[in-house]
Structure formats: structure tokens, C-alpha cells
């Protein structure tokens, strides 16, 4: 990938679209600190990390979900969601062992946050179920809950609608809008379903072969000749 530059305004929903292999997921992994950057910079909240790692980026308030629901299969739903809080945890090992000090406080706060997020996503009744036994749709919700529990300022969603039917897609689209509005999270998402992308995005970045070919409002993207060409496979 080269020569890609775009910015996302605070409170916006930005979608990254493009044909298969265009580099969408790679871009997400770069923002997230998974892939090293050879040349270039990622600024998060005006902050620049010289050597970004997933952990340091996560601590800046960035959360993400995964295309294939990378959940912890042998852990309960509640435990899965609580791992989303670990990046902000300050308690040390001794405190964890004796259940004192910060470990005690954090455990107490974590419980409240957990109940809040469980009821927000309407998954209270499965909180003790092992994630591996859940259906795909529920796993998507747990993945989202794990990302949301830390109250991220930037939320990266990797194909949040993949594998869903029409009604589920609508619901998820509305959920994403609500997360953006009522929880104040800036959202960057990758998605193939154009209908919903056009509905919910504030602006769209189009990639093709590792290059940015458009970056505009949804309305203008729809009529951009280069984008149409990339999608229809014309030269």
C-alpha cells in the first residue's frame, strides 16, 4: 500500500470500501498497530506513536472487532467481554493475588460496566455461556461488546455485517449508528454491503490495489466514475 492519506473527524462514521484484496483489512491493521509502518504516520487523537504496538494503540482508546469474530472460545461471554477492559487496568499482580487496592476497585467497576454493556446489547441472559457454543450472530454481539466495554474513542469494525441476513444487517446498522451517537465513538468500518454503508457513513474512503481512489461523502462516491469503474471491473 502506498500514498494513502485520509482523516476521520471526531464523531464521524467513516467507511472503507473497495474490492477484495484492495488492502482494507491491512489498513485497519496499520491503524491498530498490528502491521509495522515502513513509511508514514498514524495520528490518533492528535497523538503520534513512534513505534506503535497493538497494546499501546489500544491504550489510546482504540477498540476493534474482527471479521471472523476472534473470540476466546473456552471462556464465558462475561469473561470475554471483560478482557476488553484489560488494556486500561492499572492493578498489579500482588493486588490481583490478594484482591486488594486497585484490583478490588477495578473488579467492582468492571462488574457495573459489564451489566451496562450486556443490557445495551441485550445479551444478559447468555452472560455465563461459553462463547464457543453460541450462534454466529450472538458471537458478533459479544465481539462488539468486548470492543465497547472500554468506552473507546475510536472504534474499528472489520466487516460487522458479514454473514448476516437482511434483517440482521438492518439491526446492526442501526446499532452502529446508535453507538456512534449515544456513546460518542468515532467509527471506522470496513464493509461490503453498499446499501447500509451509504446510509450510515459520514464519509467513505475507496481503496483499489492498495491505493486510495476516492474519499468523499456517500452521495458523491455513488456518482464517482473511478469508483464505478473499480467496482464494475472496467479499465
Amino acid at each position: 500500500m502506498s500514498n494513502i492519506s485520509f482523516s476521520v473527524q471526531k464523531g464521524d462514521i467513516c467507511s472503507i470500501i473497495g474490492p477484495n484484496g484492495a488492502g482494507k483489512s491491512s489498513l485497519l491493521n496499520i491503524i491498530n498497530g498490528v502491521y509495522p509502518i515502513l513509511r508514514g504516520k498514524v495520528l490518533i487523537n492528535e497523538k503520534y506513536l513512534r513505534k506503535p504496538s497493538p497494546y499501546s494503540v489500544a491504550r489510546l482508546g482504540v477498540s476493534r472487532t474482527f471479521q471472523n469474530n476472534a473470540l476466546f472460545k473456552n471462556m464465558s461471554v462475561a469473561d470475554n467481554i471483560l478482557t476488553g477492559l484489560t488494556k486500561h487496568s492499572e492493578s498489579n499482580f500482588i493486588e490481583d493475588t490478594f484482591r486488594i487496592g486497585r484490583a478490588r476497585n477495578e473488579a467492582f467497576c468492571a462488574k457495573e460496566k459489564l451489566f451496562e454493556i450486556l443490557s445495551y446489547l441485550k445479551i444478559e441472559n447468555i452472560s455465563e455461556t461459553m462463547v464457543g457454543t453460541l450462534s454466529y450472530g450472538y458471537q458478533k454481539r459479544v465481539d462488539l461488546a468486548r470492543a465497547l466495554i472500554s468506552k473507546p474513542s475510536l472504534l474499528l469494525l472489520d466487516e460487522p455485517l458479514a454473514g448476516m441476513n437482511h434483517i440482521e444487517k438492518r439491526e446492526m446498522g442501526e446499532l452502529i449508528l446508535d453507538v456512534n451517537r449515544s456513546r460518542g465513538a468515532t467509527i471506522v468500518l470496513i464493509e461490503h454491503d453498499m446499501g447500509i454503508v451509504m446510509d450510515i457513513s459520514d464519509h467513505i474512503v475507496v481503496l483499489n490495489y492498495g491505493k486510495k481512489i476516492a474519499d468523499d461523502e456517500p452521495r458523491k462516491i455513488q456518482s464517482d466514475p473511478e469508483v464505478i469503474a473499480a467496482y464494475l471491473g472496467e479499465d
Binding site: 491498530n32 498490528v34 497493538p54 497494546y55 489500544a58 491504550r59 477498540s63 476493534r64 474482527f66 476472534a70 473470540l71 476466546f72 472460545k73 473456552n74 471462556m75 469473561d79 471483560l82 478482557t83 476488553g84 477492559l85 484489560t86 488494556k87 487496568s89 492493578s91 499482580f93 490481583d96 493475588t97 490478594f98 484482591r99 484490583a103 477495578e106 473488579a107 468486548r146 470492543a147
Partner: protein, 354 residues
């Protein structure tokens, strides 16, 4: 409906029984049995030959279970870390006479923990079978080390080490009951610590690393710290268990007492008991220790030992023991603890539906 009501099992007028309440009662009963009833009202044989090794091996199994069952890091070096604990504690006791006994034990545990940390370093790069091979190094190295360097066993011609000190805060614990109490106390405290850690952020990080370490790293779990901390804690617990095994149970031991056989035995204990279960470690160790004794009693009482050759009989016991393990693992691959928890859930459900 309040969240507390979800646990409700039965109601007698104003007196309500929750699931948690029953579990607490069970726990207290077990603790009272272990601390008072067994040492004061049962025979010394039961206390010394059955309960004590069950607890100690259960504790070592718990150490391994944290590493393998909770954090997914396979290891065959468990006995090596037990050996480090025992030998270092012996030297601390022997060479620094004024050192209080608990400190010497703690020192042995920490030394074992550091050894675990050292042999855990490869886990940052490799997993599964390769990690087993790497921890196996610790196993062979420790036997060679504690046999060839005489300083560690104080040049004792029999190559063994034994406890030189049984005094804690001016009270002598050298009697069988005293030793037993040390074992029960240490086991209880360490199990409580392990319970706390497993249910804390650290424990969740361990399980996240076990289930999918790449995803764990991406969502902000400090993977390196999680892996190294589990190696330390696991080896610390194994080290303490090694000290208890050497001094409280056997009295004297040489390096070959902590051989690969012991590592395998501990691995079987947690597989039978249940991976990723604290109580499972103790149930597994009880199974391993009690079953041969039961088989022995069975052959004696049925009079089989009068008819059939003794050596053949003891071999048959081993075969039967192995077959029993295989049968158990086919019926329930997740271990005895899983069977118990399934019973428990069924019991609670039936009670709730009434």
C-alpha cells in the same frame, strides 16, 4: 428481579438458600474436615499416607493447571520446578540457621518461580509440542544438576536432603500432626491465592492467551507479561509443593525423586481432574492416590491374593488402573470435575423447577 434471586435454589419461609450459600457451606465443611477432623479423629495412616500426598500432589497439579489448563502453555518440567523449590529451601534452612521457616519456604518457591520464568522464555516464541520439548530440558537438567553438584545436598553421601528445621515462631511442628497442619495451611492459602488470580484480570489474560494469543494481543492483552507471569506463578506453586513433598511427606529425598515420572503423574492428575479447574487438580490427585489403594483393598477382601500370584496381581492392578483412566476420559474428556459440575447443574435445575 434482582440478580441475587437468580442463584436462589430453595425457600423455607423467610429463610432463603442460594447456590452460593450451599457452595460456601461445602467449602467450610471440607476445611473443617481437613484442619480438625482428619488430624484429630482419624488414624495416622489416613492423615499421613492418603490425605497428605493427595493435598501436596493436588497443589503441584494446581500449579501445572494454571500453566497448562488456564494459560495453555504445555509443560513437562513440573517436577524440575518442585526440585528447585525443595533444594533451595533445604540450603536456605541449612546454611542460614536464624532464617524463619516460612521465609525459607518462600525463598524456595521464589527460586522455583525464577527457574520457571527462565524455562518459560521460549514460550514467547514457540507453542505446543515444541514447548514441551523445551520444558523437558528443565526436567533433565535439574536431575543432573542436583545430583552432580554436591554443594546442593551438602555432600551427603546418600545424595539426599532432609528438613533441618521445623520451628515456626517458637512452636515445633516436627510431629506428624504438625507437618500435616503445615501442609493443609499452605495448600489452603495457595489455593485461595490461585482462585483470586484466576478470577482477576490476570487470570482472564491467561485464558485469552490460551484461546487465541494473536487476538488477545490485538485487543490489548499484554501477552508477554501474561505468559511470563503464569510461568512464575505456576512454578512458584510447584516449588512450594516440592518442598512439602520432600520434607513434610517423605522426610528425605534425592534429585531422582523429582524425575520425569512425577511430571507425567502430575500431567495425568490434571487431565483426569479437569483442565482449567482449581478443584479438579485435587480431585485428580485423589483419584490417582485412592484408586490403587481401593484396588488393593478389593483384591485383599475378595481373597484373590490367596489364589493368584502376588506379582501378577500387582501388575493387574496397574492394568486395571490404566483401563479405568481410559474409560473415564472416553466418557468425559473434560475430566472428573466436569462430571461433578454437570451433576451439580442438574441438581440445582431440578431443585429450582420444584
Amino acid at each position: 428481579m434482582k440478580t441475587g434471586d437468580k442463584n436462589l435454589v430453595a425457600e423455607f419461609g423467610r429463610f432463603k438458600i442460594s447456590e452460593r450459600f450451599i457452595k460456601t457451606i461445602y467449602l467450610f465443611t471440607i476445611l473443617i474436615l481437613l484442619f480438625f477432623v482428619i488430624p484429630l479423629y482419624t488414624s495416622e495412616y489416613w492423615m499421613r499416607a492418603i490425605i497428605m500426598p493427595t493435598l501436596i500432589l493436588g497443589l503441584a497439579g494446581l500449579g501445572l493447571n494454571l500453566l497448562f489448563g488456564y494459560a495453555g502453555q504445555a509443560s513437562l518440567g513440573t517436577a524440575a520446578f518442585m526440585a528447585v523449590g525443595a533444594f533451595v529451601a533445604f540450603n536456605l534452612m541449612y546454611r542460614i540457621e536464624w532464617l524463619p521457616l516460612p521465609i525459607a519456604y518462600l525463598g524456595g518457591g521464589v527460586a522455583a518461580g525464577l527457574a520457571g520464568l527462565l524455562f518459560g522464555l521460549p514460550s514467547l516464541r514457540i507453542k505446543g509440542f515444541y514447548l514441551i520439548a523445551s520444558t523437558l530440558t528443565a526436567q533433565f537438567l535439574s536431575i543432573w544438576f542436583f545430583t552432580n553438584f554436591g554443594w546442593f545436598y551438602n555432600y551427603n553421601p546418600s545424595l539426599t536432603i532432609s528438613a533441618t528445621n521445623w520451628v515456626i515462631f517458637g512452636i515445633d511442628f516436627s510431629s506428624p500432626k504438625g507437618r500435616y497442619w503445615i501442609v493443609v495451611f499452605t495448600t489452603t492459602v495457595l489455593t485461595w491465592f490461585a482462585y483470586n488470580i484466576v478470577h482477576s484480570k490476570t487470570g482472564r489474560n491467561w485464558m485469552a492467551v490460551r484461546d487465541m494469543d494473536t487476538a488477545a494481543a490485538v485487543i490489548g492483552v499484554p501477552v508477554v507479561r501474561a505468559k511470563l507471569s503464569v510461568f512464575f506463578v505456576s512454578s512458584f506453586i510447584c516449588g512450594i509443593a516440592g518442598i512439602l513433598w520432600a520434607f513434610a511427606y517423605l522426610g528425605a529425598i534425592d534429585a531422582t525423586g523429582f524425575s520425569l515420572d512425577k511430571s507425567f503423574q502430575l500431567l495425568f492428575i490434571i487431565i483426569i481432574g479437569g483442565l482449567g479447574s482449581i478443584y479438579g487438580s485435587y480431585i485428580g490427585s485423589a483419584f490417582i492416590i485412592l484408586t490403587p489403594i481401593l484396588l488393593n483393598i478389593l483384591t485383599k477382601n475378595t481373597g484373590l491374593d490367596q489364589i493368584i500370584d502376588q506379582a501378577f496381581l500387582s501388575n493387574m492392578q496397574k492394568v486395571l488402573f490404566g483401563a479405568l483412566i481410559i474409560f473415564l476420559l472416553i466418557r468425559q474428556p473434560e475430566g472428573v470435575m466436569r462430571i461433578i459440575s454437570l451433576w451439580w447443574i442438574r441438581l440445582i435445575k431440578r431443585q429450582k423447577s420444584n
